[in-house]
């Protein structure tokens, strides 16, 4: 018998966690002499009160969908990939190279190749820690986080060297050709005669939704997903069933790195339209919180990604409209991560007890153990 109903596990616990995080955030806001209720209103209005707000919220959310899915897929195999940051940076390199390689005539042509480039580069970057884990037993948490730094250094080298525009002072590539510009939400809504504010939200959001569906299909409807989940639950059982641990570790990390690399389609191709030095903006790490809060399920990841998108966007508005400093927004986001991720057990434990207490007598035939 499960300790509590599924809806409580996947919906109630995260909601309580979120509420606690917001209450503590409110106290922090109060302590610097601001009105927490007003701050909350500004954040909510800023994030979802207009098409402008929604545009930015979903734009950020798209980044988090990709990095969140990346962490979630790896987590099903009990691999803690915290290298989303570096894999996304390499993905950016892949997308950048694709976009700069040809004078693309139309985004429809450029997008599939950019997706391929981002995924391949992200996957390739993840493959080295994956190999080290699978063959040498080097812990993937250590190697992936170190590869974040290497990725960052590699990108700096390329952007001040081979990829820099000659004569330019800025560490960035040339602007991508216009044929690679992805349609924004404003344009797409415009096609059907609706108005939408000018935001960086673009068709990558749809790519993100497709990726989420793909991950669901992979994990729960294919043999590979079955093997990944089995391996994640018990390696010894996986060996018993004839599942090759090396193969699963490699494939899972390649998929994970590929998903992280896809983030660049949104951030680099969709918004920045050139390859910048800092193109990931911490989304790789937020992906960990998103996957944790989303319980590694694609639907959960989608919802959590939107929530964190809203926090990013609402936080920016808060900074804009009040004297709450930028750092405070980081504090609020950190509290949400803390409560939904690290302190999950604090709510879960008592809640499970409460559910057990209120449950009726066991059905006859259920064995006592």
């Amino acid at each position: 018998m499960d300790k509590m109903p599924k809806w409580a596990d996947i919906a109630l616990v995260p909601l309580i966690n979120l509420l606690l995080a917001l209450i503590v955030s409110g106290l922090v806001v109060l302590s610097i002499g601001e009105d927490p209720v007003e701050a909350m209103q500004i954040m909510v209005r800023g994030a979802v009160g207009s098409t402008y707000g929604w545009g930015y919220t979903l734009f950020y959310a798209t980044n988090f969908i990709f990095t969140g899915l990346a962490v979630a897929v790896a987590f099903h195999a009990r691999l803690f990939n915290i290298g989303g940051e570096g894999q996304a940076q390499l993905g950016a390199l892949g997308v950048g190279l694709v976009c700069l390689a040809l004078p693309w005539p139309h985004w429809i042509l450029a997008l599939p190749f950019a997706i391929l480039g981002g995924a391949l580069f992200g996957a390739a970057w993840a493959s080295i820690p994956a190999y080290l884990q699978a063959r040498r037993g080097s812990h993937i948490v250590i190697t992936t986080i170190m590869f974040n730094f290497i990725a960052s250094a590699l990108l700096v080298y390329l952007l001040v060297g081979p990829l820099k525009v000659p004569g330019s002072m800025a560490p960035e590539t040339a602007r991508f050709p216009e044929g690679t510009f992805l349609p924004t939400a404003r344009e797409v809504f415009g096609w059907v005669g609706l108005t939408f504010a000018r935001t960086p939200l673009n068709v990558s959001f749809v790519v993100g939704l497709i990726a989420a569906f793909g991950v669901w299909l992979l994990m729960w409807r294919t043999r590979l997903g079955y093997e990944i989940r089995a391996f994640g639950h018990s390696e010894s059982a996986a060996v018993y069933a004839g599942i090759n641990p090396f193969r699963i570790t490699m494939i899972t990390m390649l998929i994970s790195g590929g998903l992280a690399g896809l983030m660049a389609v949104n951030a680099v191709m969709g918004e920045q339209q050139r390859l910048l030095q800092d193109n990931v903006l911490g989304a790789g790490f937020v992906g960990i919180a998103v996957a944790l809060m989303g319980r590694s399920h694609p639907v959960g990841v989608l919802l959590a990604a939107v929530l964190f998108g809203a926090l990013y966007q609402g936080g920016a508005e808060l900074e804009f409209e009040t004297s709450v400093p930028r750092e405070m927004i980081v504090v609020i986001q950190a509290l949400v991560i803390l409560f939904t991720g690290a302190l999950d057990g604090m709510v879960r434990g008592p809640l499970e007890k409460a559910f057990l207490r209120f449950r009726k007598q066991p059905k006859p035939g259920v064995p006592a153990e």
Binding site: A237, V239, A241, G242
Partner: protein, 531 residues
């Protein structure tokens, strides 16, 4: 002992619930001083919960405990020790790289300096070993001792803490028959000195052999307490299960056919460069059950793992005359299944099942790439569920719910899921390890019948079990393993527990009565080598 005496332990109305599960329901029990009191019951009947309450690990929801007539609160194990209760757990709680003496003193040191305590313990240990045949070298490291010796250290620990009441939880699970006999002699000696002993077990034979009184538990309730003299194994089994149980396996003589499995000179060296299999050769014919007897840890697990494709090895293995790959890319479990080998692993929770998967997901485990379970790129989950429901019905798996996760089934029903999955593939060779470990008596009967039915259908069965009873009643031939070798083969009709027990301890010259010392030394040596 007279009925007028004050009970050493008296439990009144003990109840304990874990959420909706009532592990103990209104338990009342009296254990008279100077007796050996057995507690018997199936897995999950609540025996261990009751003893954990007595030892202060759990707090009872209701009820009272009286020790020697005084009402006693036992909030933790410190209080239990203070009340004179000692516990020997199924899984020993010893520090492997400490000596016997250090382990005995650990937690009961007097003062900041070790030397006086150690000296005192050394003297006491000597007295105890003279008194009760509890011979252990006080300066030996635990890791160098065999399990039987380690268990004695646990008993010594309790006695050092001046326990008057000794609780032993499934003490013979890891012992050879000879070691078990020795343990029983020790317990008899302790009883003569006036100690009270509570023996928790699921083995009827032990209860009959050594206890004075026996309490039977079923589904959290104490169903009966009877004098051992006045009862029989059949009656106890019925009290445990709640219905009549067939204790012997009913089977026709074997009709061996073609040789299915041929193993020659199989060798396995583990990560620590220790040779776990030292040249195993054996064969199994169609229509027969070859039982491998042996104390746990003598290479049986490795043998099953090699044959099941979980471990690499050198040597030669042929299935139906065809050589199989033992080291290359085709040495995995998937290829073995394709060759007609089914495998019920020793540890269903760690290997045979994914405990967090639903029953239906587990029913495809290992066969998840079978054509019937797949439609193109995707798995045909509806078909797997349909198939699972059929198997649930055929094997009477309860509850009959293919959406229940494996961990929420009882041990017996978990094992039935594995058995159903492996047997229904109609394999040429069935590898089966500890088929009834942690399985209740009712399910044991059923599982044994299924294995015999497979044999009667002309399939080869390789059975590994540490339960000698099971080996003797199921096997058509018995091979005994010791220290990575086959000590010899016997026919069940021409051997007995004594002979097998000696072979399990590495003594081949079974006509000569070996000394207890020889047995102990052999086992200690094998424990050191195998570990």
């Amino acid at each position: 002992m007279s009925d007028g005496a004050v009970p050493a332990i008296e439990l009144k109305g003990i109840s304990k619930a874990f959420g909706p599960v009532k592990a103990n329901k209104d338990i009342t029990m009296r254990v008279m001083p100077g007796t050996i009191h057995g507690i018997i019951g199936e897995n999950g009947a609540g025996k261990s919960t009751l003893m954990s309450i007595l030892y202060g690990f759990y707090k009872a929801d209701a009820g009272e405990i009286f020790i020697a007539g005084t009402r006693t609160e036992i909030p933790d194990s410190q209080a239990a020790i203070a009340a004179g209760i000692g516990m020997v757990f199924q899984h020993f709680k010893l520090v492997e790289n400490f000596t016997v003496l250090e382990n005995v003193v650990l937690g009961a040191e007097e003062g900041a300096l070790l030397r006086p305590s150690l000296a005192k313990a050394r003297k006491l240990l000597k007295d105890l070993s003279d008194e009760y045949e509890l011979h252990v070298d006080p300066d030996a490291l635990i890791q160098d001792l065999g399990v039987g010796m380690q268990q004695r250290v646990e008993i010594l620990k309790a006695l050092y803490r001046q326990a008057d009441i000794l609780i032993l939880d499934e003490p013979t699970g890891v012992l050879t028959p000879a070691e078990a006999d020795h343990l029983f002699r020790i317990l008899e000696g302790l009883k003569r000195e006036g100690k009270t002993i509570v023996l928790i077990t699921h083995k009827l034979r032990e209860i009959m052999e050594i206890t004075d009184t026996v309490s039977v538990m079923r589904r959290g309730e104490m169903t009966a307490t009877v004098k051992t003299e006045g009862t029989s194994p059949e009656e106890l089994a019925e009290l445990m299960v709640g219905r009549k149980v067939l204790l012997r396996v009913d089977k026709k003589p074997a009709q061996p056919g073609e040789t299915v499995l041929e193993v020659e000179n199989l060798r396995v060296v583990d990560d620590k460069k220790v040779e776990r299999l030292r040249g195993i050769s054996l064969h199994v014919q169609a229509g027969e059950i070859l039982g491998i007897a042996g104390v746990a840890g003598n290479g049986q697990s490795e043998l099953l793992e090699v044959l099941g494709g979980m471990q690499r090895a050198t040597g030669s293995v042929r299935i139906n005359g065809q050589e199989i790959d033992l080291t290359g890319t085709k040495s995995d479990a998937r290829t073995r299944r394709a060759r007609g080998i089914a495998h019920v692993p020793e540890d269903r929770q760690r290997e045979g099942l994914i405990m967090d998967f639903h029953a239906w997901e587990n029913m495809a485990f290992g066969y998840h790439d079978a054509d019937a379970y797949n439609r193109g790129l995707l798995m045909d989950n509806a078909e797997i569920r349909r198939d699972t429901e059929a198997k649930i019905e055929k094997f009477d798996i309860r509850p009959a719910n293919c959406w229940q996760t494996a961990k929420n089934f009882s041990g017996g029903n978990q094992q039935k899921i594995v058995i159903a999955r492996e047997l229904e593939r109609n394999p040429d060779l069935l590898l089966v390890g500890q088929p009834t470990r942690g399985v209740d008596i009712g399910a044991i009967e059923f599982i044994h019948q299924q294995i015999v039915a497979l044999r009667d259908a002309g399939k080869a069965v390789l059975l590994v079990s540490v339960e000698l009873d099971e080996i003797l009643s199921l096997s058509d031939r018995i091979a005994v393993m010791f220290d990575g070798r086959i000590m010899g083969e016997r026919l069940p009709s021409e051997t007995d527990e004594r002979e097998l027990g000696l072979m399990m301890a590495g003594i081949t010259d079974t006509d000569r009565q070996p000394t207890a010392k020889e047995v102990a030394e052999n086992l200690a040596q094998s424990a050191g080598a195998v570990r």
